[in-house]
Every structure is written in structure tokens, then in C-alpha cells.
């Protein structure tokens, strides 16, 4: 037989009690003597104990409700199978009340951390960090493109390159092997000439004073990574693939963050930038089909070094490309000041 839980009379002249809160959840196991709910009278707040053991069921009063003394507000069912839910506003209990799914008696508290982040947009907006919004606005892009493409919110600065990649096909035909007109629209070419005196002096000094031989291409790879990181505000790993005319390609991992003499090779990570070293050869430029990854070529040009960047706006937008080449040229023209 289930036991009725009633609003008790806690004072002489008390006619109602304010149910402050339930201390047990619907369906939870209850032991006789355990605190079951809190009641506030005009004098004090008191905990009311369960009078029987079983499972809390058929709760008909909710927290914050004023309940007349003596009214039944719940029932302690003898077994889990007998637990029923009761509508708060129903006057009487229907004998064939529908049994509701029983919540597990042992409930783990909800955790806050979620991985990967999943969220629904507030009303009609997009969940994005202020920085991401600013970068998108500066590039004239709509963050909603990311939602439509199915990328989970919220968005951060690191998602902007992805947004740029989504925005480009809208402007040009979406076919990858497009005609020259489309390729010209999407492809970019930037060249810079840097006097090589600063770099030569630095390499010479390193050899003379420290006995360390530094290849200009290795220095360029480190500076290119630093400049690319700055241009893209990129917080993660960067891979610069160093390619010479002969010999295997060397994928360098974060060359700007390691010592020049102790570069680490990236294992099976796609490159963010390819550095083609043409120094020592008569070639000054080598432009093949529009590259999937930005290609930086380093070539000799008399008493200067020639830097050329070939890129597609899919991977690197024009402002970032300009920033990359400018930043790299500045560093290459005076390595000593720029090496931290």
C-alpha cells in the first residue's frame, strides 16, 4: 500500500504551508526518517521527514506552492513499478493514470564541460566570439555560411579561414579545374625584392662567431612561419615544407618556435606553406598550376633575394598574403633584430 505524504501542521494556528523545495526527486528512493521536503511557516523553515520507505511518486505540489495543511502532496510507492506521475493541476487521481518513465534514482550532477562544443544559436543570431565577428566583418563575410555548412558553433578566430574558403565559390564557378578566367580571379601573386646584405652578414657572423652554418632557406622557413602565424593570427601548429630543386621535401613543424639547428619534422601533417628554394640556381621563378597550398619561392637576384608568393584566395586571403610577404621581407632584411 503506498503511503500518502501530507502537508503537516507545524504550528497551532497554521492553515497552510509553503512548500519551499523537494529534497528528493520524483522516483528517487526514500528511507523512513529521511528529509523529504522543506516547508516554510510564518515562523521558520523546517524539513519534513518521510514517514515510510519506498520511492517518491505522484507528486502533486511543486516548489513555491502554498498547500493547505493535511492535503496529500505525494505518495511513497512500495516498489519502483508502482511509481506514477501525477499532473499538478488534476483534482483527483484517475485509476488508470499513465505510468511515466522513471528517472534513475542515482542521478549524477550535470557537468558543464562539453567536447566537442555544440550549441544552438540564441534566437536568430550566431554564436561567435567578438574577435571572430570582427574578423568576419572586416572580411565582409557572413558567419551564417558556417552554420549552413554544418560547422558546429560557437565560432572563433580560427574558423575564419574556413569561412573564407566557403565564401569564395559563391563568387566564382565552383569547378576546381576552372578556366583561366576563374583561376585568375582566385589566384594571387606577390613578389618582393630584399637586399641580401643583412642576411649575408648574419650568416657570416653565425659562422665566424658561433661556428654554426645556417642555410638561408632554413632561416627563411622560420621567418615565413612567424610571418604566416602573425598574418593569420594562427594559434596552432604550422607546417612549412621546404622544397629544393633536387632532394626530398622537408616538412618542418613550427620552424619559428624551434632553434634553427634543431628543427623538427612534421609527421604526416599537411603543409600550411611550401617554401621552394631556388637559390644557387639560375631560376628566379617557378609557377605551376594554381597551388592548393601557398607557395613561397626564394631565388637569387644579384645583390638581392627575390621572394615570390603564389597563392589561391581559398587558402590565404589577399590581406593575409600581403602581410605574410611584407612580414617575411622585413625579417629577412635584418635577421639579427628579428630573431628572438
Amino acid at each position: 500500500m503506498p503511503d500518502d505524504v501530507i502537508m503537516p501542521a507545524l504550528g497551532m494556528a497554521q492553515e497552510t504551508g509553503l512548500l519551499l523545495r523537494w529534497l528528493k526527486a520524483p522516483g528517487e528512493a526514500v528511507t523512513a526518517g529521511e528529509a523529504l521536503f522543506e516547508v516554510e511557516t510564518d515562523k521558520t523553515t523546517m524539513e519534513v521527514e518521510a514517514q515510510a520507505s519506498g520511492f517518491l511518486s505522484e507528486i502533486s505540489a511543486e516548489a513555491g506552492q502554498e498547500v493547505p495543511v493535511g492535503q496529500t502532496i505525494a505518495v511513497i510507492a512500495a516498489s519502483q513499478g508502482a511509481i506514477r506521475a501525477k499532473m499538478v493541476d488534476s483534482a483527483s487521481v484517475a485509476p488508470d493514470a499513465v505510468a511515466v518513465a522513471v528517472p534513475e534514482p542515482a542521478v549524477t550532477p550535470p557537468t558543464v564541460a562539453v567536447s566537442p562544443p555544440v550549441a544552438t544559436a540564441p534566437r536568430n543570431g550566431v554564436l561567435a566570439s567578438p574577435k571572430a565577428r570582427r574578423l568576419a566583418a572586416e572580411a565582409g563575410l557572413n558567419l551564417k555560411l558556417l552554420i549552413e555548412a554544418g560547422h558546429p558553433q560557437p565560432y572563433h578566430a580560427a574558423d575564419i579561414p574556413r569561412l573564407q574558403a566557403l565564401a569564395v565559390p559563391a563568387a566564382a564557378p565552383a569547378v576546381p579545374a576552372a578556366g583561366p578566367a576563374a583561376a585568375a580571379e582566385a589566384a594571387g601573386h606577390i613578389a618582393a625584392r630584399i637586399p641580401r646584405a643583412g642576411m649575408d652578414a648574419f650568416v657570416h657572423r653565425m659562422q665566424a662567431e658561433a661556428g654554426v652554418t645556417i642555410a638561408p632557406s632554413a632561416l627563411c622557413a622560420a621567418f615565413a612561419a612567424a610571418a604566416l602565424r602573425e598574418a593569420r593570427e594562427h594559434p596552432g601548429d604550422l607546417v612549412v615544407e621546404l622544397v629544393a630543386l633536387t632532394g626530398p621535401a622537408r616538412p618542418l613543424l613550427n620552424p619559428d618556435r624551434a632553434r634553427l639547428s634543431a628543427q623538427s619534422e612534421a609527421q604526416q601533417m599537411p603543409p600550411d606553406l611550401i617554401l621552394r628554394d631556388l637559390t644557387g640556381s639560375p631560376l628566379t621563378a617557378l609557377r605551376l598550376a594554381p597551388p592548393a597550398v601557398p607557395v613561397l619561392s626564394l631565388a637569387d637576384d644579384g645583390d638581392c633575394l627575390l621572394l615570390t608568393l603564389d597563392f589561391v584566395t581559398l587558402m590565404l586571403d589577399a590581406p593575409a598574403a600581403i602581410a605574410l610577404v611584407t612580414g617575411l621581407a622585413a625579417r629577412m632584411s635584418d635577421p639579427l633584430i628579428n630573431l628572438v
Binding site: S115, P122, P154
Partner: protein
């Protein structure tokens, strides 16, 4: 460079200022022969006499009032408040009298006093002797608040405080008295309102006060091993606060965590976080996180007490979440 304890550094600062200016004197409980229970002021009464190193009865409101009065009439007291928790006893003298007299007298009167007190838990001193109450006095216009994070800061900030014509409250971390740091032999002062960038970084800014600077540095070391470059900033004084340095850093990194040993609710971290949100909003790639002492009276149980303060591991966990973009408020 020689290394001395924070205790020794404070002693040197006060002794040097007392030699330099006869108006400076020390007043408080057990400051003379005992040299304070932490032994920081040992030797002062031998050099300067009981006229300038004054032991008082256990009467905080009384001797704070005396200090305010002497400061108004030409002296420069250094008031020793044995535990930061006793601030509650001197609030009227400090916040209603010392803090406001210069303003209310139209600039005619000054109160050049220094309150030297402490903060910090995990010393098993229980709830009424372990509080970090710097937020209370930082809130009062007219008071300056300094938080040295090492012996070097302690000496430089104390000298600046004594020479400042405004009332200054300096909080030393009671766990750091025996910690050594390089301190120059030559005289130096640390100006108020100038933060110290303890290490440069590019991914996240950690702003920490007092002993939390060491916590932030340890966290930064752990983060470097994970490829995250953290910048660590010690504001040194929270009033005045070096906003420019903090904001420049956050504009660079886009992410910030503020760590303080006061209670989390309504504390220092909230103020700094709010200023960052206001003034570097469009550079933030994630919310500014705050870490402080748990909002409970400091427990006496050692196990529980240690749970209530920020730790390097806690900072690292928060930094990881920020880097991965996992801090958000769903729906």
C-alpha cells in the same frame, strides 16, 4: 645579485626609509622587541628606539586612529596590522577618515600613512586569520593598494608606499616571508601603477596577484610543454591598476584568465575581467575567466583548506578549455 627573503626585504625597506626621513615611525602590536610574530621587523627597535617603533595594546581601531591623527599632523606612520583579517576592525579609521580626509579638506590635509598587513590561506590558521581582503579596500576611493609577489617587489613597493602622500595598504602573502628572490643592494623604488610582464607569450594572458603569480608561472611552464604560449602579468598594484599593459597583452593573445587569492565573488578578478571585456571586447576570442578562492570561510581542515585556493593545474585546465574554444554558455 644577492638573494634575500621577503621578510628581510620588508625590514630593509622600512629601516632605510626610517633612516632617510625622521617622520617615519612604526606602530602596531608586537612590533618592537618581538619584531612581529613573523619576525619581519626584528632589529628596528634596537636601531630607532621605542619612540619610533611603538608597541600597542590589542586595540586596532585605537592605534589606527592614532596613526591617522599623527599622519594629519606631520608624521608618516607605518601601521602594522598583524593579520589582514583585522581590517574589519579599522575600517572606519581607514576608509572613512584616512581615505577621505584629503578630498574632504579640499586638499589642505594629507594622510601619508602605510598599512602593512597580509593575506593568504593554506597556513592552517582557520577562517578568521586566513582572509585575503584586498578587494574591500581597493573599492574605496582615496586608498592605494599594493600586492608584492616577491622580495624584490616587497622592498620596492614598500619604499614607494612610505614616500607616497596618500594612504596605502600593502598586503604581503604570509606564506612567502621566507621565500628568497634577487634584490639589488642599491636603492630602488617600484612605481605604483606599473605592471610587470613576467614572461611573454602569444596564446593566452594570465593576470595574477601576490602568491598567485607563482601559481601562474608554474601553470605557464606546464602549458609550454603542451605547446601553449602563456603571457604572465603581475599588476603589482591594483589601485592604481596598469590597465594599458593588461589590455595590450589581451589584444595580442585574445584570451585571458585572472587569478587572485581573494574570494571569487565580487572580487579583484571581477573588476579586471570587466575592464578587459569593456576595453578589449573585439579582440577577445573567448570569455575572460576568473579564478579565486572558493566562496566559503577558509576551512581549518588542511585537506579542505588546500581545495579552496587556485592551483597551477586548475589554471592549466582552464587555459586548455579556452584554447579549444570550449568555454561557452549554451542556449
Amino acid at each position: 645579485m644577492r638573494e634575500i627573503t621577503l621578510s628581510r626585504a620588508v625590514n630593509e625597506a622600512i629601516a632605510e626609509e626610517m633612516r632617510r626621513d625622521p617622520a617615519v615611525f612604526v606602530i602596531g602590536e608586537d612590533v618592537a622587541e618581538a619584531g612581529t610574530p613573523f619576525k619581519v621587523l626584528s632589529g628596528l627597535v634596537e636601531e630607532f628606539g621605542t619612540g619610533r617603533v611603538i608597541d600597542t595594546p590589542i586595540a586596532e581601531p585605537g592605534f589606527m586612529g592614532i596613526a591617522v591623527g599623527t599622519a594629519l599632523t606631520g608624521s608618516r606612520p607605518v601601521v602594522d596590522l598583524m593579520f589582514g583579517d583585522f581590517l574589519f576592525l579599522v575600517m572606519d579609521q581607514l576608509c572613512n577618515q584616512a581615505a577621505k580626509t584629503h578630498y574632504m579638506s579640499g586638499g589642505k590635509l594629507s594622510v601619508p600613512l602605510v598599512v602593512r598587513t597580509n593575506l593568504g590561506a593554506t597556513r592552517r590558521s582557520a577562517a578568521q586569520h586566513s582572509q585575503s581582503l584586498h578587494a574591500l579596500v581597493a573599492h574605496i576611493p582615496g586608498l592605494k593598494v599594493a600586492l608584492p609577489s616577491s622580495a624584490y617587489e616587497a622592498k620596492g613597493l614598500m619604499k614607494t608606499a612610505i614616500r607616497d602622500n596618500n594612504p596605502v595598504v600593502i598586503f604581503e602573502d604570509k606564506l612567502m616571508y621566507n621565500d628568497k628572490a634577487p634584490v639589488p643592494e642599491e636603492e630602488y623604488l617600484i612605481p605604483f601603477g606599473v605592471a610587470n610582464v613576467k614572461r611573454q607569450g602569444t596564446d593566452i594572458t594570465l593576470i595574477a596577484t601576490s602568491s598567485m603569480v607563482q601559481v601562474a608561472e608554474k601553470a605557464a611552464d606546464l602549458l609550454t610543454a603542451e605547446g601553449i604560449s602563456a603571457e604572465v602579468i603581475d599588476p603589482r598594484t591594483i589601485v592604481p591598476l596598469d590597465e594599458a599593459t593588461i589590455l595590450a597583452s589581451v589584444r595580442k593573445t585574445g584570451r585571458a584568465i585572472v587569478i587572485d587569492e581573494g574570494h571569487l565573488n565580487y572580487g579583484i578578478t571581477a573588476e579586471i575581467a570587466a575592464r578587459i571585456s569593456e576595453k578589449a571586447f573585439y579582440h577577445l576570442d573567448g570569455p575572460v575567466l576568473r579564478m579565486g578562492a572558493m566562496d566559503v570561510p577558509v576551512p581549518f581542515s588542511p585537506v579542505l583548506e588546500d581545495l579552496t585556493v587556485p592551483t597551477p593545474e586548475g589554471v592549466v585546465a582552464n587555459a586548455r578549455r579556452l584554447m579549444r574554444g570550449e568555454v561557452f554558455h549554451a542556449g
